[in-house]
Symmetry: C3
Subunit: 310 residues, 3 copies
C-alpha cells in the first residue's frame, strides 16, 4: 500500500492489497477475546440523516470496543440546522471539529464524497441514497473470504432485485478487484442489474451472465447472495411472481452445494423461508454471521483510517 | 440460588432469596461513594421501540456508573429494518452481536420473552405493552425494603387505576414471594384489579381486599402506592370523579401513618397534590427517592446478569 | 471570584473576572494536545426538548474529551412522561439523580431557571425559547477575545435580525461587563434590537447607535456579527429587501478592516456569500473557528461547574 486512504466513501477506492490487509486485521480482531484499546481518546460522530439502527450501532460498538467514544444523531435530517437551510457541507465543517472521524448516512447519492471533500477528518460513507454502502460491501466480501476461504476463483449468484439494491452494486465493485471471479445475475426481467456494473465487470475481467431461473443456478455457485424484492417498487402481480421465484426454501435448499453459503444483507422478509432462517445448524445459512462480521470489519476500518490521521 | 437467571423479563422469575440478594447488592451500591468498575469493557444496548427517557436513562447511567458503555436507540419502531418488515426477533439476533446485554422496551405484550428466547446474551424487559415492567417492580419493592425495613408482614394499598397499570401488576408478583403481606386494592368500580392477580394472591397466601374509599384505608397501611388515573381511558365524568377521590392532598395527608410511605411510579399528574410534591421535608413522600432507587437496582441487576455470562 | 456559580442559565450571571478566568482556561484547553481527564467518573445528561445537534454534540464532545460520559435525549418533548403531563420540574428532579450535570434546551423562555431552581446538580441552559443561549454568548465573546485580543475597547456591529435573535441578546449582556465597548445595531427598520438591551447598555456604559446602511459601518468596526434574516417571520418583499442589504459578499468584503472579524452563530444561509464561506484563506472569516471554540468554552464551563460540586 503506497497510498493510504484518508476517507472511505466508495468500494472502488480499495485495491486488492488493501482489502486483504483489512481482512487480515478483521480476522485477528474477530479471534480476540479482548480488544486493543487503540482508539482510546478518540471520538466518532455518527451523523445519520436517515435512521439505520443496525449500521449505526455496529459502527458505534466497533468504536467503543477499541476504546473510543461516540457522539451520535439518529435523525440529522430533522435537526434544526438542516431545517433552517444549512448545507450538509457546513454541518460537516462544524461537526468534525468536535470529533476524530465522521460516519455519515445521507439520502442523496454523492453526499458522502461531498462531505469527504470539505472535511479534514476521515469521513466514512454509511450509505448515500442510491449510491453506495461500501462498508456493507466490505463485510459481504469478508464473509466470503472467511467462509469460502478465498475471493479469487469464486462463483457468486446475485439474486432478486438487482436494479435497485445498492449492496450488490457495492459488492460487485469489490469482487472486480479479484481474479477468476464469475457472477450470475438472477432476477426478474424488470429488476435486472444496470449496465454500468456490467461495463465495470467487462473492464475488470469478471465473467458474468444473466439468468431468470434460480433453481438452475443454485447447484453451480459458491455463494448465493439474496436480496429483498422491494414490493413498493412494482405491481402486486409482479411482486407475487418474483417473490415466489426468488426465494430460498425447504424445496430448493437441497440444490445448494454442501460448501456453498447463503448470504443476505438483511433485513430479509419472505425471500428466505422462515424455517431455514432459524435452522442455524445448517452451516450454509451465513447471514447472521455476515451481520456480525460488520462489527469486526468496521473495527478494522476505523483503526486503519484513524491511525492515518493520528 | 441454585439456578442463575440469564435474562429478566417477568417479576415471577425471581424467588425471595434472589430478590433479597439483589437488594443487598443494591443497598451496598447506593451507599458507595465510588462504584466498582465491574462492567468495564461491556456494552449495553438500549433498544426502545417506544420512547421512555426516564427508564432508558437510568439503565444507561447504571451501565456507565459500573464502567460499561452504551449504544442506544430511542425510537426503534421507526428505524428502517422494522419499517421494511423485519421481525423483532431478527433485529435482536443481529443487535446482540454488537453488545453484551440488551434492554428492550416494546409495545407488544410478550415481546421481551420472545426476544430472550432467540438471544444468546441477557435480555432485560424495560416494559412490554400491557405486559410487565419488572425492573419497575424491583425498584418499587426495594423502596419498601429500604424505607419500611422489610417486605414480610407489610400492608400495602394499591390506589387508582388498577385495571390498566402494569406497575401494580408487576409489583404484586414480587410481593407474592413474601409472607404476611396484605394488599388493599383502592380503585373506582370501573378500574378494579384484574382477576389473574387476585388468583395469584390466593395461591401465594397474600391477603387482599377491595375498597373504594381511600380515606378509610389511609390510616391502616404501611405503603400507599398511588397510580395515575388514565384520563384517556374513561369518560370525562368518570375521570373527574376518580381524580377527586383518589388523590393525596393537604386534607387527607394527616390520615397517613407517621412511618408510612407514599409511593408513585411517576410521572404523576393530579393524583398527588403539588404542594405535597415539593414539600420534600415530609419523609413519607418517597417517590423521588423511589425513582432514584431505579438507578441502583438496575446497577445490581446488570452486575448480576452480566456476571452470569462473562 | 468570591462566589462560585452552581448553575449557568443567563449570561448576566458572570462577572468580568469569571469570564476572563473561563477564557484563560479555554485558551489552555484549546492549546492542549491531550486533555486532562478531570471529569472521569462523571455523567452529563443532555436533555433536549428541541433538537439542536450542533449544540448538543459540542457539549457531549466537551464532556467526553475531559474523561466524562454522556446520557442523552434528542427529543425530550415527545418522550412519554412529558406527553403524559409531567412537569419539566419533575423530569429534572428524576433525571438529575442519574447524573452529575444537566444541559437542557427547552422551547419556553425561563425554563432553564426553573430547572436550576429545583435541581441539586448544575443545570446549563443550552437555549430556552426566546430567552437566552448563554454558552453561545460565551463562545462568541471568547472568539473576539481570542481573535481580536481583547474585549475592552472594541467596536462591534450586530447585523441582521436583531429583534428575534437570542444570540445577539445574550452576547450583548456579556459585552456589557467590559469597558470602552461600542455597538452598532445594523438592521432593517422592522427588525431592530429591543429596548431592554438598549436600557441594559445605557446602564452599563456601552455606547450604541442604530444604522440601516451596512456598507457605511463595515469600515469602522472590529467585529461584524452577522445573523440570519428569519424568512419565516416577515413578508416575502421585506425578506428580499433585508436579504440583499444585510449580506457580506464579494463586493463589500473589501470595506472590512484588515484585522476585523466576520462572525456568525451559524447556521448561515444567504447572508454570507458562498464564495466567502469556503474561502478560508481570508483570516477575517471567523465563523468556523467560532463554532470550534464552542467545544473548548464548554469544556472550561463543565470543569468549572462540576468542580464546584465535587
Amino acid at each position: 500500500m503506497d497510498k493510504k486512504l484518508d476517507y472511505f466513501v466508495d468500494s472502488r477506492q480499495l485495491d486488492k492489497e488493501l482489502i486483504l490487509s483489512l481482512f487480515e486485521k478483521t480476522k485477528k480482531l474477530k479471534g480476540s477475546k479482548t480488544f486493543p484499546q487503540t482508539l482510546k481518546g478518540k471520538i466518532l460522530t455518527t451523523l445519520f440523516y436517515e435512521p439505520s439502527t443496525r449500521t449505526r450501532m455496529s459502527f458505534e460498538a466497533a468504536m467503543i470496543r477499541l476504546g473510543g467514544q461516540v457522539i451520535s444523531t439518529e435523525n440529522a435530517k430533522e435537526f434544526s440546522s438542516a431545517i433552517k437551510g444549512e448545507s450538509m457541507e457546513d454541518t460537516i465543517r462544524v461537526v468534525e471539529k468536535y470529533c476524530d472521524c465522521v460516519v455519515m448516512r445521507h439520502y442523496e447519492e454523492g453526499a458522502a464524497q461531498r462531505a469527504a471533500d470539505v472535511a479534514t477528518k476521515p469521513v466514512i460513507n454509511a450509505g448515500d441514497g442510491k449510491g453506495q454502502h461500501p462498508t456493507q460491501a466490505l463485510l459481504d466480501a469478508y464473509t466470503i473470504y472467511d467462509e469460502i476461504g478465498r475471493l479469487d476463483n469464486i462463483k457468486v449468484a446475485f439474486v432478486g432485485d438487482l436494479a435497485n439494491g445498492r449492496t450488490t452494486r457495492s459488492l460487485a465493485y469489490l469482487l472486480g478487484k479479484f481474479s477468476g471471479v464469475e457472477v450470475v445475475f438472477v432476477s426478474p426481467e424488470n429488476l435486472k442489474m444496470r449496465e454500468d456494473i456490467k461495463d465495470y465487470f467487462e473492464k475488470h475481467d469478471v465473467k458474468f451472465s444473466e439468468e431468470t431461473n434460480l433453481a438452475k443456478i443454485l447447484p453451480t455457485v459458491d455463494v448465493i447472495y439474496m436480496t429483498r424484492i422491494q414490493k413498493e417498487r412494482m405491481t402486486e402481480e409482479d411482486y407475487l411472481k418474483a417473490k415466489g421465484k426468488y426465494t430460498i426454501n425447504e424445496e430448493n435448499l437441497g440444490l445448494i452445494r454442501k460448501n456453498a453459503r447463503i448470504m443476505h444483507p438483511l433485513p430479509h422478509v419472505e425471500e428466505i423461508n422462515l424455517l431455514i432462517n432459524t435452522e442455524t445448524n445448517d452451516k450454509r445459512v451465513a447471514y447472521f454471521r455476515q451481520a456480525e462480521n460488520g462489527l469486526y470489519v468496521r473495527m478494522a476500518l476505523l483503526e486503519y483510517l484513524l491511525n492515518v490521521k493520528c
